[in-house]
Amino acid sequence: MGREMRTGWGLVEEWLTSMKLGLILLGIIAVTAGMGTFIPQVDQSPQEAAKVGQLWQTLGLTQIYSTFWFRFLLGLLCLNLVACSVRRFNGIYGRVFRPRPPRTAGDLPAKIRTEIKGDYQILQDSVQRTLAHHGFRLTGRETETGWSFLGLRRRWGYWGSFLTHMAFVILVLGAFLSSLLGAKGYFMVGAGSTLSIQSIMTEGRIDQNFNVRVNAAEKKYLPNGQLDNWFTDLSLLSPGGHVLVRKIISVNHPLTYRGITFYQSDFTSGVHLTADVRGKEQKVLLSEQNGYNYYYAPGTDLYFVVAQIAGNEQQPEMMYLVYNNNLRVVQQGTLSKGQTANIQGEYKVTLDGYAPFTGIQVKKDPGVGVVWLGSALLLVGLFLSFYWRPARVAGVLSHAEETKEGILALGMTAGKGSESFLSEIRKSSEDV
């Protein structure tokens, strides 16, 4: 018999619901994701990525995970999973809530099959008793030749595959929400600094408007000298200066305020300096980290850069470099606490003391709850699929012609205790 030809929507439906499409997509996504680990990615190593060249950037190979085509593949996979799940839904629903006993012996599960002969009534009784004893949910019906039944145990296991597939879709949906509605930012400052939340966020947008103040930052050690954690005393202030919330955060102990979470991310050494520019003093906080390690004195063409901070918190020392506008080093030297350096006769810099710098990651992620929901469903689905597999026993009991004898054709899925189950039915019918 030839295969039915499909056209139009039927063809699309067949393609969308095909297992082959799902497997091809899984393979492509796996290969693509792997490629992304070999090709330098922009947000991981800009220097390396720059070497790859314009062509790679044009193809999106330096930002694979955020390219349109990679997201399209994920979207297509979700569509495939949804289509497959929808197609299977009725079958699973029927198996769980409307189980149908077999019509003929040909409909019995093929994994384990056997046949028992005996008194019709006794066989029927022993089947019912044994199934009930083993916790099977029994559905029976009269047939033209006698009686047939279906026993189910752990029937919720049928939902495992469905839940697993839908969970994957929910996970991708959560990730999509994160990228669409999420916002993030990062700041590294010394104790005493205050920043507005709007100035911190560099990706996405948030509606709230408040200020973030770092009251104190500290690196704590254990009695054995090992690093315990980094701590930051953080206050969130209303535009009017009112304290909205205050908390000491550390790594693995973030602060969440109205959907925005502050994570302790980095910690580095810094210094308090005083810059005296033509008699006008200015307090300066600098750290070793790029972006936070230079001071530009107004009215000059000189950049004072922290090269290294040494010593300890009580007696800090620093090495500095001074660049001009042409990025040439015009001066270098070291400073101890209390010492002053004359910078090209333009201004003076005094090292006042040590200043810890704390790095805080700020994030708003409305998709994360959806991701956790998907993760939980995925685990439930896998648990049902692999650790809660349904057991199915079906049978057709037929009258032998013009006698009280019956022939019981039994079929069951393999599982723990299959053998003992069969022998119990045999023994039960023999005992009676």
């Binding site: 994994k111 690093l227 693995n252 896998l382 053998e419």
Partner: protein, 328 residues
């Protein structure tokens, strides 16, 4: 106390290495020489190795006052523990000693790698970064340990399957049924759990019916193909949810620590690829009935992905998991 325990660490490591190497040699000797005594001895040496492995891990925990999951050496110790624990469970549960010849070399080689590539100083208890001070890490690595252990066992079963199937195909090409077919004997001798297992093999292979079997050499001691196939599936089905849990707990931990549950870090990406390979294995088995040789190859490929996730990423691909570099 801590200093005394530190003194035990070195000898314990070498004792552990010796146990796994000797167990491997005994398994090989037992299989090649058809000596049941050697195979039995191999099992008990492997059990002793697992005990020493446990003691080594506990000693490290007592010294460091934390779970032993902070550097490459500690990860390898727990990885070996997972492999041998899952393997011994499979051996006792299914009476499969021949499997030891293919699984025990994995922890033995891992420990030899430690001896060659990681200096004793790098193996010592180190300061852990604040990000690692999380209970999520313990669950994350514990689930990885068991999942990877299960995948190592499925790898061994896959290799056994492929070797036996290849030999049987060769025998079938030469002249059909081999005199003294031991396949039926194997099935009769199999444990009750094994004998109840059935499973289709590729259509038309002729092997499914047990027409051709091998009756000599190490392969004669392997269980029937369908038993190897079914067991590999069971082990993967055990490990796959654990790998999923491992990835999810890693995501929860990363979210608590860095505010990002998924950052396409190479370790994350390769664990996803490993997950996809095993998802493919289970999927094609459920829906397409892929069994036998393709399934065995997928089990081998999956474990290659596991090893790359574990080692390759640490060596070749820098990322957030850089602290997991075997050298510390």
């Amino acid at each position: 106390m801590s200093q005394i325990l530190k003194g035990f660490e070195g000898p314990l490591f070498y004792l552990l290495l010796a146990a796994y190497v000797v167990a491997t040699l005994l398994y090989w000797g037992g299989a090649l020489g058809k000596k049941n005594g050697l195979s039995r001895a191999a099992t008990w040496v492997a059990v002793a190795g697992l005990v020493i492995n446990t003691v080594t891990i506990v000693v490290r925990m007592l010294i460091a006052h934390r779970p032993p999951l902070a550097n490459g050496y500690e990860f390898i110790l727990t990885f070996c523990w997972g492999i041998v624990a899952v393997y011994l469970f499979a051996e006792f549960r299914y009476r499969l000693r021949a499997l030891g010849s293919f699984v025990l070399p994995v922890p033995a080689l891992l420990l030899l790698f430690v001896e060659i590539a990681i200096s004793p100083a790098e193996r010592s208890s180190t300061v852990i970064m604040p990000a690692l001070k999380s209970q999520w890490l313990t669950i994350h690595v514990a689930t990885a340990m068991l999942a990877y252990g299960a995948f190592a066992v499925s790898f061994g079963l896959g290799v056994m399957y492929l070797l036996k199937e290849r030999k049987m195909r060769a025998a079938a090409r030469i002249g059909g049924p081999v005199p003294g077919d031991s396949g039926a004997d194997e099935r009769r001798a199999a444990s009750p759990a094994e004998s109840s297992m059935t499973g289709g093999l590729p259509d038309g292979s002729g092997l499914a019916a047990g027409v051709v079997e091998v009756n000599s050499g190490i392969l004669a001691r392997f269980p029937a193909l369908e038993v190897l196939d079914e067991l590999a599936y069971k082990v993967v089905a055990f490990g796959f949810p654990l790998l999923t849990l491992c990835i999810i707990t890693g995501a929860v931990w990363a979210n608590y620590t860095w505010g990002t549950y998924w950052s396409w870090d190479p370790k994350e990406t390769w664990s996803l690829i490993t997950w996809l390979v095993y998802a493919g294995y289970l999927h094609v088995r459920f829906t397409r009935g892929w069994k036998g040789r393709p399934a065995a190859w997928l089990a081998v490929l999956g474990f290659a992905a596991v090893l790359f996730t574990f080692f390759g990423v640490n060596y070749f691909l820098p990322g957030l998991h850089s602290y997991a570099n075997p050298s510390g």
